[in-house]
């Protein structure tokens, strides 16, 4: 602490010294003049007797320099020399460390980008998600927007398929399928993000008639519109409809997901079927000032109870799972957090094994360095001094390993980015070596240096002078032997832990692969076709198009069957509808929700997917078409839930492609 205080005092010390020296010269000169010497000569003589003022001042200042810094430099110098004398040893050690450290840096850069960097929003810790478990009908969101007191809310829809916010972009060269998001007007201002160009949506633009506007993502603007500065105000054709470009978002803005290429306003139309019955929306909120997350949760709980009776039809009481109002970060990061931390832990174990290996190498070399240390000790180096020297050497190795590891990490990161699924790992694209990763790498370099160097250094500095100088190293050899055994045991223990953990993960992966999903995915290939919505306004045109597709598929040699479905199983969200079953006991409503996940399929779907039919019949061609009597298939849990006889189901959902009053046709497991 003395030296720290001195650091601040140093300037003062130097000034004092300088003033003092000049005072001295002055006094001497005056004295000489008083004795009758001419002024010029006196000044000259005073200087001559004093000596070189600059050099003396410098030497005076050097006194205050840090002695340990000089010692450290000497140690580093000596360490580099001794490492260079053993290039093979140095190379092997640095390579070992580089592998361990490089892997750690690469995984840490992943953790850093995905978990540690704050979300690129204003005050990101005040942004919450209401939708880890629960989505809301658009009408519910509008109600929420007007009544909630604890927070401001915004809703969005995204994705392929059911949500219908993916678009065919035409008229701009090659047609392109765009991944879109439909957002409520206040989403951007709620997140506190400004557009790169143009503007974001204004309040009210999510109302019917005003929603034909689009905001482009930066990458789309760059590659599709050649970064045209005049793109704002242009009309572009999405799904056959004309939209006006009003803005371009900055490159770092990736919400709801990194895939989002265009944002359009939600069309919150109370007269449309979709108002209650359309795809439900996830909701995010920004807590108002001074509101705790708990009070927000309580309000949402009350709100949900109030919303249920507002539905135009009866909804089961357990429509929503427990209310969750949690920081948005948690939802975005999701279960990636635990996976990444497990990975980081495993990789840290690998580094520990590398450390144990290097420590072993150092101990092996220690035997050959006994004499060198003994000579140093004889010349007056204390044990601490020798220890410090050896530690400096191992830290140098650690730093060397860090530097080489960083180079490895650089390649590892681009490799990771290429192989990891961008959909499952948020913010993957932003993974890079930044300041924090550099710091981390340097820190583990030094840390590993101490870790693998400490035991050998303590061991080697324990010099038995007379013994070592005379006969060499018998005593030390036995004790290093013991240490090396310990290290080997440690290494094996770490390796066992790693192998066990890896085995467990492989086992759960194996179990996941072998879960019986109720269908057989072998030999089934899938593809997606996405005609514009407008195309299907004419039902017969749409149907004949799809029929042609299925027929042509069947005609392909080697194809045994072809079918269409609106959503593949285990592939994200599907819509669901509330239903009443004839004969379904009313009191059961409380416990079992008659919510049906609805899939729209063509007759061959069940054979193609090899889904067994338990009772009744599958769909036949005559079931399709506008005139056919509506039919439905249900799964076994629904059968079991009902009393044995009630086969007729009456459905109250509105505006589905399959009209209400469906007849239950059978069941499958």
């Amino acid at each position: 602490m003395n030296s720290i205080a001195r650091l601040f005092k140093r300037r003062r010390l130097y000034e004092d010294l300088s003033e003092e020296i000049h005072g001295h010269l002055d006094e001497k000169t005056n004295e000489l003049i008083d004795n009758g010497m001419p002024a010029e000569q006196a000044a000259l003589l005073a200087r001559r007797e004093f000596g070189n003022v600059t050099v003396i001042e410098e030497r005076g200042r050097e006194t205050w320099h840090w002695a340990w810094l000089e010692a450290l430099l000497a140690d580093v110098h000596y360490g580099v020399r001794s490492l260079r004398k053993n290039p093979g040893f140095t190379f092997v050690v640095i390579l070992t460390l580089a592998l361990g450290i490089g892997a750690n840096s690469a995984i840490f850069s992943l953790v850093n980008a995905v978990l540690l960097r704050p979300l690129p929003f204003a005050k990101p810790d005040r942004v919450v998600s209401l939708s880890r478990n629960n989505y809301y009908p658009q009408a519910g969101f509008v109600e929420m927007r007007t009544t909630l007191r604890t927070m401001d809310v915004a809703a969005y829809l995204e994705g392929w398929g059911d949500a219908r916010v993916d678009f065919n972009l035409t008229g701009e060269g090659e047609p392109e399928r765009l991944y879109g998001a439909a957002v409520s007007a206040e989403l951007f201002s709620l997140l506190g993000v400004l557009p790169e160009r143009g503007r974001v949506f204004a309040p009210g633009e999510d109302q019917p008639g005003k929603h034909r506007e689009v905001i482009l993502s930066y990458p789309l603007w760059e590659h599709k519109f050649k970064a045209d500065p005049n793109v704002i105000g242009r009309q572009i054709t999405l799904a056959g409809t004309s939209y006006e470009v009003v803005g371009v978002m900055p490159a770092h803005f990736q919400f709801p997901s990194s895939k989002t290429e265009v944002w359009v306003p939600l069309n919150l139309d109370p007269r449309a079927n979709s108002y209650w019955d359309g795809p439900w929306v996830p909701v995010i909120g920004r807590l108002r000032d001074g509101v705790s997350i708990e009070s927000a949760r309580a309000e949402v709980e009350l709100f949900q109870r109030r919303l249920l009776p507002m539905f135009p039809w009866k909804m089961p009481a357990d429509t929503w799972k427990a209310v969750s109002v949690i920081p948005l970060r948690q939802v975005i990061v999701g279960d990636v957090q635990s996976k990444l931390l497990i990975l980081l832990g495993a990789i840290a174990l690998v580094l520990l094994i590398a450390c144990a290996n290097v420590a072993n190498l150092l101990l092996a070399r220690a035997t050959t360095r006994q004499r060198e240390m003994a000579v140093r000790a004889t010349l007056g180096a204390g044990r601490w001094r020798i220890c410090r020297q050896l530690l400096t050497e191992s830290i140098l190795l650690g730093i060397g390993g860090s530097a080489a590891g960083l180079a490895l990490a650089y390649f590892a990161i681009s490799w990771l980015k290429a192989i990891l699924p961008a959909d499952d790992i948020p913010r993957l694209a932003s993974v890079s070596i930044d300041f924090r990763v550099l710091l981390f790498t340097a820190a583990i370099g030094v840390l590993t240096g101490v870790l693998f160097g400490l035991v050998p250094a303590l061991e080697l500095s324990k010099v038995d002078l007379s013994g070592s100088l005379k006969t060499g190293s018998k005593n030390v050899a036995t004790s290093t032997h013991w240490l090396r055994t310990c290290l080997a045991i440690t290494e094996i223990a770490f390796a066992v832990v790693l192998v066990t953990a890896a085995g467990l993960m492989v086992k759960s992966l194996w179990q996941l692969v072998h879960v019986d999903p109720g269908f057989s995915p072998e030999s089934v290939v899938s593809g997606r076709i996405t005609p514009d919505q407008a195309f299907c306004n004419d039902f017969s045109r749409c149907q004949s198009f799809y029929n042609t597709v299925v027929d042509r598929m069947r005609a392909v040699p080697g194809v045994r069957g072809a079918a269409l479905v609106n959503a593949l199983p285990l592939n994200g969200r599907v819509g669901f509808i509330a239903a009443d079953f004839e004969g379904y006991p009313e009191e059961h409503d409380q416990k079992l929700s008659p919510l049906l996940f609805d899939s729209v399929i063509t007759p061959d779907y069940l054979p193609v997917m090899q889904i067994p039919l338990l009772e009744g019949r599958g769909f036949v061609d005559s079931d399709t078409g506008g005139q056919a009597e509506p039919v439905a298939l249900i799964t076994r849990p629904q059968i079991l839930a009902r009393p044995g006889s009630g086969w007729q189901a009456h459905q109250t959902s509105l505006g589905k492609a399959v009209a209400p009053n469906c007849r239950g046709g059978g069941g499958r497991a």
């Binding site: 010294l17 003092e20 001295h24 006094e27 007797e49 000596g51 003022v53 030497r59 005076g60 050097e62």
Partner: protein
């Protein structure tokens, strides 16, 4: 440290003389030099300036303390004073020096035989 071999004195000699001189009375740098020169009857070749790095070392080790004041000739000067720690250090140094000197004198004495 390298500069030490440029001096005519052995390492630590100048410091010892400074401490010894300061034990009599607190002095500023210039007066200190004059005092040492006078005491040695100008036998010792001291570069006046070399006093200052020595004083800095003593200051750092807290063997002397310094304070700005006014000299008899009415100059603003930095006056050095021996600290108790410095006094003890001087005692030890002088003892060991005397012993060393004794040894050297014996070795250098004309051999009778």
């Amino acid at each position: 440290m390298k500069q030490e071999n440029e001096r005519d004195l052995f390492p630590g000699a100048l410091e010892m003389m400074v401490l010894r001189t300061l034990r009599r009375q607190p002095l500023h740098g210039y007066a200190l030099v004059q005092s040492i020169k006078r005491a040695s009857d100008d036998l010792l070749q001291i570069e006046e300036g070399s006093l200052y790095p020595a004083l800095q070392r003593l200051l750092k080790e807290e063997l002397v303390s310094a304070e700005w004041g006014v000299s008899t000739t009415n100059r603003r000067v930095r006056i050095y004073k021996l600290t108790p720690k410095g006094a003890r250090h001087l005692e030890r140094e002088v003892t060991s020096f005397e012993r060393m000197l004794q040894g050297i004198t014996r070795v250098l004495a004309p051999v009778k035989s």
